[in-house]
Symmetry: C2
């Protein structure tokens, strides 16, 4: 019986991770009962992000500026480059404030099963950045999954001819664990104990 | 390190029921990575609801039309009037499609503790609707809480001089239970076994 507009909003919210149809309905009601304090602020915030949304041409991060805030930050050490699978991994590491360098987002991981090949990932961009010079260390911060580790080995081969130190996150990550779900303590330990790629 | 715009959106989403700061961040990333399929549809849906949002002058429901969809529906039996505490209760009963009549939203329940008095609720509107005639039965569908039952008794007194049958939902609701959290089976049973107010 809810109007088409309410139904459409409920469905749009229900598709967000962490919200199902039931919690989406509660969220819609919450918004409609609090137009000034909840609905309008959310609407304005979405408009602003939508207007300014861009994918960083340097690193592949999503942000409201291009280059993104990380790439544009002069306090970050450009000699240190951390390669991650997904934007969510960049955000998790950035949030921890443990890594003082820059990032590169692959946009996935190599997967025979899902048919993801090297040319499907932003590997050419990574090689260009390394080839351009100025990078001393590349941290291959792939997930501790089979596909993540396969990707790290592939990248290590692609980068071995460049004069950079290749490191990877220390083991101690839970097997099968994904970066984005880890607590800061585990991330800190893994970063501190990072080691050269064998 | 996230931009102000992203931070503002994260905070607006984190205030929704069912989402915390962590799931809000995941939702923001989800939206930013899926501009066409997720961000834009959510933005458009919010705009439409925001443009058309209104509180029904008849029953107190929130909808995108005034009168609301329930009040405007000619297939609903106007002789049956179900009084609820909150809009969420109306939505829960309406969703169950078990009640063929109309609704009235009080906007709360009487509470000595919280200083909610009869004049703070939409009771005058209810009395006017009943006094206008055409209503045969008023279902007092308050929550099975002390305050809900106090409110039901107060309403029964206010309406006793009118020629309407006063009923309340059958007990069998879990004690302390709130309508909005009940499954449809429990709601159905409570509605079927509704009984005259003693
Ligand atoms: Zn960037
Ligand atoms: Zn209405």
């Amino acid at each position: 019986m809810a109007s088409q507009e309410i139904e459409a909003l409920t469905q749009a919210l229900a598709r967000l991770p962490g919200l199902g149809p039931r919690s989406a309905r509660r969220a819609v009601l919450h918004l409609m009962k609090r137009r000034e304090s909840a609905l309008t602020p959310l609407l304005r915030a979405l408009e602003k992000v939508n207007e300014n949304l861009s994918v960083c041409a340097i690193c592949g991060n999503v942000d409201t500026t291009d280059p993104c805030g990380v790439c544009a930050d002069p306090r970050r050490d450009a000699r240190l480059l951390c390669v991650v699978e997904e934007v969510s991994d960049l955000w998790a590491l950035d949030r921890s404030r443990l890594f003082p360098g820059k990032f590169h987002v692959l946009g996935g991981r190599l997967s025979a099963l899902e048919g993801v090949r090297p040319e499907d990932l932003n590997i050419a961009g990574l090689v260009s950045r390394v080839a351009a010079g100025g990078v001393d260390e590349v941290v291959l911060a792939m997930n501790a999954t089979l596909e993540g580790q396969t990707t790290a080995h592939y990248l290590a081969e692609r980068l071995e001819s460049y004069p950079v130190r290749l490191t990877q996150l220390a083991h101690g990550l839970p097997v099968g664990g994904e970066l984005d779900y880890l607590d800061e303590g585990t991330l800190a330990q893994a970063l501190r104990a990072r080691r050269p790629v064998a």
